[in-house]
């Protein structure tokens, strides 16, 4: 068990491409062993938020702290070293590398022995064990998603950012992915995820954050968001 519980705090960040601001002051915070779900309509800036935290889009205003240390606009490699990893929505595996090589690349910055972590990943995704020497690009969509998340876990992150991890998956894979995300949380990792199926995601989340037009509309516990009629009507297709 890790002794210290790390915190990631995002304060009022403004960011976007060129002159256009997509995020207009967004704040969220997360501790390890928490799942925070970001929901909101298309174009709300959910993916932009993920990329901004990870240093892929320059932040114009606001700050990001890892514990007390400021990591705003740090280069991506340093952010990975701090213990934050990111799984993009698409193009999140190396298609011509084997499953095992994909995982090895995830541990690229580690100097210590990462075999134990690899075993943990295989425990989390037993389906990958027999595919470990197969070319990742030939796997099914669901298995590729496992490789993608597995790769991000190899650095032993304190926080993992998942951008729509269930997009385009079959119902079974979809359930498996949600289960694995809950397991990742129990490994002591803080999970920030963007999810289109907000209802299901909020059920497993500790907190939900509603993002509309680049601003926080509401941050509350997953349960209370599910009970909130405005939210259910707006994003969750109403209560059946």
């Amino acid at each position: 068990m890790k002794k210290k519980i790390h915190k990631l705090v995002v304060e009022n960040i403004v960011s976007g491409y060129g002159d256009m601001d997509i995020l207009k002051g967004v704040s969220i915070n997360i501790s390890q062993e928490e799942i925070v779900v970001i929901i909101g309509p298309n174009g709300a800036g959910k993916s932009t938020l993920m990329k901004s935290i990870f240093g892929l889009i320059p932040i114009k205003e606001g700050n990001i702290y890892f514990d007390e240390e400021e990591i705003t606009n740090l280069d991506t490699q340093s952010i990975v070293k701090k213990g934050i990893s990111y799984v993009p929505q698409v193009k999140n595996i190396f298609p011509n590398l084997t499953v095992q090589e994909n995982l090895e690349m995830g541990a690229y910055l580690r100097k210590d022995n990462y075999l134990e972590t690899m075993n943990d990943v295989f425990k989390l995704y037993p389906d990958l064990v027999e595919k470990r020497n197969q070319i990742a690009g030939q796997l099914s969509g669901g298995q590729q998603q496992m490789v993608a998340i597995g790769r991000a876990l190899m650095i032993q992150p304190e926080f993992i950012l998942l951008d729509e991890p269930t997009a385009g998956l079959s119902p079974k894979m979809y359930n498996d992915t949600f289960e694995s995300i809950q397991k990742i949380k129990t490994l002591g990792v803080g999970v920030i995820m963007v999810e289109q199926n907000a209802k299901r995601a909020l059920q497993i989340s500790d907190r939900g954050c509603v993002l509309v037009s680049g601003e926080n509309k509401l941050t509350a516990s997953g349960q209370s968001l599910l009970m909130n009629e405005n939210i259910t009507n707006l994003f969750l297709g109403g209560n059946e």
Partner: protein, 297 residues
């Protein structure tokens, strides 16, 4: 049949080997940097001329000068990258291609200024006995070294790409640059390693080419067409494909002048270079992604 093997097949294999070393570099560099490196042939020439200096100073066989050539060409490649390509990393591909064309002109002029413009050979007047095997098959010592040397280097490169951390990172970056960055791979270091591998292979190809024929400042530039034909044939960005492509091009160039019908060569040896071009054009029409599905961007 024996004539075919001695005078067409084996020389084809030798030519294919030299092309393979160059084309692998072209293909690797394309995979990582996403541009056609037009100065690659001149990098070969540079390696060949470094060996020439070693040969004339220390009176050794050019093959023993290969380590010096490798060192020279790799260092030069890294320097060129820093000065001429790195500033354009985020620019459009065409800028890098033009830049490499400029580099090729500079390199050639540098060679002309340093070593002169006349033809040079590593060893004057030495005709070595051919090695005979199985009765009538003959192969010159030079050719044997070139073929064995090439296959050893291909094997070494394969081990590097398949087994080492840096080699795997190279393949990963060739797969997806953005994801490599997100994963924490030090992409500039991978680029540097690629120049070392590409530069080394080019240096050896240059020495082999020089020992098989002679040296002149245009020697590498003249190989550019077959090198790119080989890389395209194998699917650009796929170093293993480039090896196969190079063998096909080398063989085709030599075998095209075999007298298949009667006693006249099928194609006059003067048209050899055209063969590579012909194969490349046909390939681009029929299967533009190459034999082993190359990259498309």
């Amino acid at each position: 049949m024996i004539d075919f093997i001695n005078f067409y097949f084996l020389p084809g294999l030798v030519l294919g080997s030299i092309y393979a070393l160059g084309a692998m570099g072209v293909s690797l560099l394309f995979g990582i940097l996403r541009f056609a490196h037009f100065a690659h042939g001149d990098l070969m020439s540079f390696g060949a001329y470094i060996a020439l200096s070693m040969v004339s100073i220390f009176h050794v066989s050019p093959f023993f000068a290969i380590p010096a050539s490798i060192l020279g060409s790799s260092l030069l490649a890294i320097l060129i990258d820093k000065v001429c390509y790195k500033p354009f990393r985020k620019s459009q591909t065409v800028v890098l291609v033009i830049s490499s064309l400029g580099v090729s002109l500079m390199l050639r002029s540098f060679i002309q200024l340093t070593w002169g413009v006349s033809l040079e050979v590593y060893e004057i007047g030495v005709i070595k006995d051919a090695i005979t095997f199985g009765g009538n098959f003959r192969i010159s010592e030079n050719h044997l070294v070139i073929i064995i040397g090439t296959f050893s280097l291909i094997y070494l490169t394969h081990i590097f790409l398949a087994k080492t951390k840096l080699g795997k990172a190279m393949r990963a970056m060739s797969d997806d640059q953005d994801l490599a960055l997100i994963t924490g791979i030090n992409t500039e270091r991978v680029i540097q390693a690629t120049w070392i591998v590409g530069g080394s292979l080019a240096a050896v190809a240059g020495v082999f080419l020089g020992s098989d024929t002679q040296l002149n400042p245009r020697m590498g530039w003249d190989q550019l067409l077959p090198l790119f034909a080989a890389a395209i044939l194998g699917g650009i960005g796929r170093p293993y494909g480039a090896i196969a492509g190079a063998m096909v091009i080398g063989m085709a160039e030599e075998i095209s002048s075999f007298p298949f019908f009667g006693t006249e060569p099928l194609l006059s040896p003067a048209y050899k270079t055209g063969v590579a071009f012909f194969i490349m054009v046909i390939m681009l029409i029929v299967r533009p992604t190459g034999l082993f599905k190359g990259r498309s961007f």
